[in-house]
């Protein structure tokens, strides 16, 4: 489930190439809705419906600028595996984990992995979109240095 928001969010810079995102969630409705929202924000989005599918895409294509993954899919906390593999990709993408089942243990693992943002489900777009935009800008700055 995704909560909409009336707050304005900043868009990715239109003068640069679209930010290439991999979106991973086993709930088809969440996947398609978020994809639509993110594409509307100017992102180029590829989707995966499982950890296994996401890992295949990450192995084939290392050009993702960002990976947004659900935490619980085929198995509990399996999204951390998507995050771990994504964080090993060069250049390192922005990694965001979405979860409705945050615990001290899985959040601690996420911190130790170095993920960039953890958002709660139902996803609040007024939190997620500015955070994504901020992380994208920071990544673009570090790429240009």
């Amino acid at each position: 489930m995704i909560k909409s928001s009336n707050s304005r969010v900043s868009h990715p810079d239109p003068t640069t190439r679209p930010f290439h995102l991999l979106l991973v969630d086993d709930e088809s409705s969440v996947l398609q809705t978020l994809r639509m929202v993110l594409e509307n924000e100017g992102y180029q989005v590829m989707t995966a419906e499982s950890c296994a599918q996401a890992l295949t895409l990450l192995q084939k294509d290392s050009s993702f600028d960002g990976v947004i993954t659900d935490l619980n899919m085929e198995e509990e906390d399996i999204g951390l595996e998507v995050a771990r593999i994504a964080l090993q990709t060069k250049p390192r993408p922005v990694v965001i984990v979405l979860t409705g089942f945050a615990s001290l243990a899985n959040s601690r693992q996420a911190l130790d992995l170095g993920i960039d943002y953890m958002a709660h489900k139902p996803v609040e777009l007024s939190d997620l979109l500015p955070a994504l935009s901020r992380l994208v800008s920071r990544r673009r700055e570090s790429d240009s240095q």
Binding site: A102, S103, L104, S107, R108, A110, L111, G114, I115, D116, Y117, M118, A131, R138, S142
Partner: protein, 130 residues
């Protein structure tokens, strides 16, 4: 004034004794440690120095007030290792604040100083923060 190549740390805590102990321990490890007891002193230090390491008390002045400062430090010094000191047992909210403010690690401030500094420096090196 620090020597060329000497690393600089920012320590932000309302308790002077903790600041002093951390400062001494970091000095032994080759750091010049600048201390700040409140938000305004910390912000002033950010405008005056470059830091390779920063430790901020989570409850600076009021509960949770240290988190935004830690986030600012991460933005100001993207290559620095920024950690937060928590007074109590780690809570879910604290860990999630750390992730979302870009803080690399959280430590309990009740950890003995030598152990705390050793862990902090080891985590910092692992994250490439120095």
């Amino acid at each position: 004034m620090n020597k060329p190549g000497q690393k600089r740390a920012l320590l932000v805590h309302s308790d002077m004794e903790i600041l002093s102990n951390l400062q001494t321990a970091l000095l032994r490890e080759g750091f010049v440690a600048i201390v700040a007891r409140d938000l305004s002193s910390a912000l002033l230090a950010i405008t005056q120095h470059q830091f390779q390491l920063a430790a901020v008390f989570a409850d600076l002045g009021e509960p949770g007030a240290g988190w935004p400062l830690a986030g600012v430090l991460r933005l100001a010094f993207p290559r620095a290792f920024v950690c937060v000191l928590e007074q109590s047992e780690l809570q879910l909210a604290g860990v999630q604040s750390a992730i979302n403010y870009g803080v690399q690690q959280i430590y309990r401030q009740t950890t003995p100083i030598a152990e705390l500094v050793s862990t902090l420096l080891s985590d910092s090196q692992r994250s490439g923060g120095q």
